[in-house]
């Protein structure tokens, strides 16, 4: 397995709050890696650092032989990294179609874009039904599917997902989880998944990192972690 992403000793702070205090994570091609951890542990910050939304203050980020830190978000997207941000962030006054097309913004081959569009619509048939509707009027679950679809429109090699289950009804969370599995399986896309629903995250990932206040507390094989007592206590709970 070849290494795809190497996130090394990264430090990052906001105005005056330290969010990442020397975090290292790795991700191999084709893998699904989960990031779990308490509120404010820095999970979203890792994703922001990877996509260049936030500058890092120390450390390095390598992706397929390129160094990402210092690049602009636009450049990083062009390298094949797509992100579904926290809180969905749809373009509320654009149609579903235009939202999806925005996902393919960096691509130029029209016919190829059309093919991707069709495959996305096939994967999320609900979007096909709402094709011309303004995205802001979609329900929460539909919006979540749409932004995942939008990210897929970039034909990414690495997909970053920030809490896709947030505020979504259980049944839809299941649909989304299945979609993630399918995307990784069918298209060979690597996935970095931030989730609060740790049980779900560990079930559908190969490896996982558990974060606590700005650093990695535990990492390893998802199956092993699922059985780990510390994880059980902190993230899974015995009593479901």
């Amino acid at each position: 397995m070849t290494q795809m992403l190497n996130f090394k000793d990264v430090e990052l702070y906001y105005d005056h709050v330290y969010a990442l205090k020397g975090v290292s994570i790795e991700l191999n091609e084709g893998e699904t890696v989960a990031l779990i951890g308490a509120n404010g542990a820095g999970k979203s910050s890792i994703l922001r650092a990877i996509t260049g939304l936030r500058p890092i203050h120390a450390g390095e980020i390598h992706y397929m032989g390129d160094r990402l830190d210092g690049m602009s978000a636009a450049e990083i997207v062009r390298k094949g990294i797509a992100m579904v941000p926290e809180g969905r962030r749809v373009f509320p006054y654009m149609s579903v179609k235009d939202n999806l097309l925005m996902g393919a913004f960096t691509r130029t081959d029209k016919a190829d874009i059309q093919r991707t569009l069709e495959s996305v619509l096939e994967r999320f048939p609900r979007l096909k039904e709402r094709y011309g509707q303004q995205a802001g009027t979609l329900s929460g679950g539909e919006q979540q599917m749409m932004v995942i679809g939008r990210a897929l429109m970039a034909k990414p090699r690495l997909l970053l997902l920030d809490e896709p289950s947030l505020g979504i009804a259980p049944k839809l969370v299941q649909d989304i989880a299945r979609a993630i599995v399918a995307i990784s399986r069918d298209e060979g896309v690597s996935v970095l998944l931030v989730e609060q629903n740790s049980r779900m995250a560990l079930s559908i990932s190969n490896r996982a990192y558990a974060m606590s206040t700005g650093s990695v507390a535990l990492s390893g094989n998802s199956k092993d972690l699922m059985g780990d007592d510390r994880i059980k206590a902190a993230y899974l709970g015995g009593d479901l």
């Binding site: 602009s72 997207v77 962030r89 749809v90 913004f105």
Partner: protein, 289 residues
Amino acid sequence: MEQIIANGLYLGAQYALIALGLTLIFSLMNVLNFAHGQMYVLGGFVTYTIVAQFGLPFIVGLFASAIVLAVVGALIEKFLFAPVIRKSKREESTMLLAAGIAFFLDAVILLVFGEKQRGVPKIVNGVLNWDFRIIMPYDRILIGVLAIAMIAGFILFMQYTKAGRAMRALAQDRMAAELMGVDVKRYSMIGFALGAMLAGLVGGLLVTITGINLGMGGPTSIKAFMMIMIGGAGVISGAIAGGFILGMMESIGLTVLAAYGDITYLVIFASLMVFLAIRPQGLMGKPWG
């Protein structure tokens, strides 16, 4: 009656074009560009200089206005608005910057082009007189048609091109747009340049009819504010609607209220305030106004 509508349409077309630029800039950067009127005046003076001073054809002057203003707009965005927006805590602060730029352009225009009213010769002669029901000089008709064509062109650009889509996305969610690979800095600059260019184009168009003078900047900005307020700030269709509505209101108001003279504008303004009190987001405004 026909005359009133014709006047309203002509006014509306030019107003809508002014409001479009303002609303574009507002939607992209959340900046209320107080200097919009001054940009319009600058556009007028550029066309004047090219046509009246250098004796070149009108169309050259119009293009020159567009280009000069696009460049000015781009520079202003890159070196002034972008850094200030990045650094300031409250986005309203850009209003001071915009006002400073308005003063600055006023000063430059005064020093470069002087204090006098300027105009260029009519580009088309003759007056359409339809049985005294509609009297409309041909040059006005031409300018009105050109303005409408530009509005249509602008809408098509925003709706169907990649750059247009990128700008719309940018206006709705900056961060998400960035994640789609949109170079937000570049497109903000392009958007601002486009907005400024529209202002310059109107200036260039109207210099053939109303002429231009340095005093027109401030009032033009205020009128443009009113239009985007009627239609809904940051919404393209709203700006167009607002422009035409204000045009019609003026045309009708001036005729109907002529007998009461001094209060025409008082009535227009007051009804605007009442309208907004009832419909706080304007006609087509989005909640984020």
